[in-house]
C-alpha cells in the first residue's frame, strides 16, 4: 500500500450563476483591483492508502460522485499525488 493525497476540486458548471463569486469580485473591485471574472471552487485534500495511484483516484472519484459534488450544478476533477 502506498500513501497518496487525492485532491478533489469541485466547481460550478459553466453557466451556473455563482453569487458568492460575483460578490467577491465586486469586493476586489472596491479595493481597486481590475479583473474580468472570478470563479470560486471547493478543494478537498484526501489522504488515503491504496495499491496504486489509479486505485486512489477511483476511490476519490466515488467520493466526489456520492457526496463532494452535486452533479446537477457541479463539475469536478481529481489529482493524485504520492505523499
Amino acid at each position: 500500500m502506498t500513501a497518496y493525497t487525492a485532491t478533489v476540486t469541485v466547481r460550478l458548471k459553466r453557466g451556473v450563476l455563482d453569487p458568492e463569486a460575483e460578490t467577491t469580485k465586486q469586493a476586489l473591485e472596491r479595493l481597486g483591483f481590475e479583473l474580468e471574472a472570478l470563479r470560486s471552487a471547493d478543494r478537498f485534500e484526501i489522504d488515503l492508502e491504496a495499491d496504486s495511484a489509479d486505485g486512489a483516484r477511483e476511490r476519490a472519484d466515488e467520493m466526489a460522485e456520492r457526496l463532494l459534488a452535486n452533479p446537477t450544478i457541479h463539475d469536478y476533477d481529481v489529482e493524485v499525488d504520492e505523499r
Binding site: V16, L17, D18, P19, E20, E22, T23, R66, L67, L68, N70, T72, I73
Partner: protein, 230 residues
C-alpha cells in the same frame, strides 16, 4: 397512524411543523433521525432548519444519513413525504426530487412573505386550492435558488411536476416576483410520485391563525388522506 417529522442536528422548524399539523388535527411526532422511522409512520415531513450546519451544501449531509434510505423506501411505497425549506434541499440532494437548491441570486439570506401560484391542484398537497390560485407563504432561506439543466427542466414541465412558482399578487410569474433567481421561478416540485413534494416556502409558518395568514394550511392537509384526522 402519524406523521413523522424527522429531526436532524440543526433542524429548527420541526416543532413549528408539529404545532401546525396538530392545529389541523393531524397527528404528528418528532423523530430523531438516528432512531429511524417508527412503524406507525404514515406520512413524513423533512423540516426546515440548518441540518449539519449546512456544511458542504445545504441538505447534503442529511440526505446521506441512514434514515433517508428509509424515507426513500417509504416514499416509493406511497407514503406521503413533504420536504420544507432545508427539507426541500435534503429532498433534492437525496434524489427524492430532481434539481438542486443553491445560493440565492442576491447571495443573501432572505426572510419575507412571497406569493406562490398553484400550478396544479390534483395532488394531495394542492387539493385545497384551484389551479392558478395565488397563496401567500413566507420564505426564509439563503440557498433557495432552484437550479436544473434545461433538458431536465423541460422533462419536469412535460411531466407536470412543477407544483408552485413564485409570482406577484396577481399570479403573474415574472422576474420581479422571483425572490431568489430560481430557474423557471420554481418554488416547489413533485417527485416521481405525486405523494412526494418539496418546496422552499414554509407552509407551517402560514397555518396558525395567531401568527398571520393561513394560506399554507392546504399544503399540510395533504397528509389528511394518509393519516386521517384526530
Amino acid at each position: 397512524m402519524t406523521v413523522s417529522i424527522v429531526r436532524f442536528g440543526g433542524s429548527n422548524c420541526d416543532r413549528d411543523a408539529e404545532r401546525a399539523l396538530e392545529h389541523l388535527g393531524i397527528d404528528a411526532e418528532i423523530v430523531w433521525h438516528e432512531d429511524g422511522l417508527p412503524a406507525e409512520t404514515s406520512g413524513i415531513v423533512l423540516p426546515g432548519g440548518f441540518s449539519y450546519g449546512d456544511y458542504l451544501r445545504a441538505g447534503a449531509m442529511a440526505a446521506r444519513s441512514p434514515i433517508l434510505a428509509e424515507v426513500r423506501e417509504a416514499a416509493a411505497d406511497g407514503v406521503p413525504v413533504l420536504g420544507i425549506c432545508n427539507g426541500a434541499q435534503v429532498g433534492c440532494e437525496s434524489g427524492l426530487t430532481e434539481g438542486a437548491f443553491t445560493t440565492n441570486e442576491s447571495a443573501r439570506f432572505q426572510c419575507e412573505p412571497v406569493h406562490l401560484r398553484v400550478e396544479r391542484a390534483d395532488t394531495p398537497w394542492t387539493a385545497a386550492y384551484e389551479e392558478g390560485d395565488v397563496i401567500e407563504v413566507p420564505i426564509a432561506h439563503g440557498e433557495g435558488r432552484y437550479e436544473i439543466g434545461d433538458d431536465r427542466l423541460a422533462a419536469l414541465e412535460a411531466d407536470d411536476r412543477i407544483l408552485f412558482r413564485y409570482c406577484d399578487a396577481d399570479g403573474a410569474v415574472d422576474g420581479d416576483a422571483n425572490p431568489n433567481g430560481s430557474k423557471a421561478a420554481v418554488a416547489g416540485l413533485l417527485g416521481e410520485r405525486e405523494t412526494v413534494a418539496v418546496l422552499m416556502p414554509h407552509p407551517e409558518r402560514a397555518t396558525l391563525p395567531d401568527v398571520g395568514p393561513t394560506d399554507g394550511q392546504g399544503i399540510l392537509r395533504g397528509f389528511e388522506s394518509a393519516v386521517g384526522k384526530l
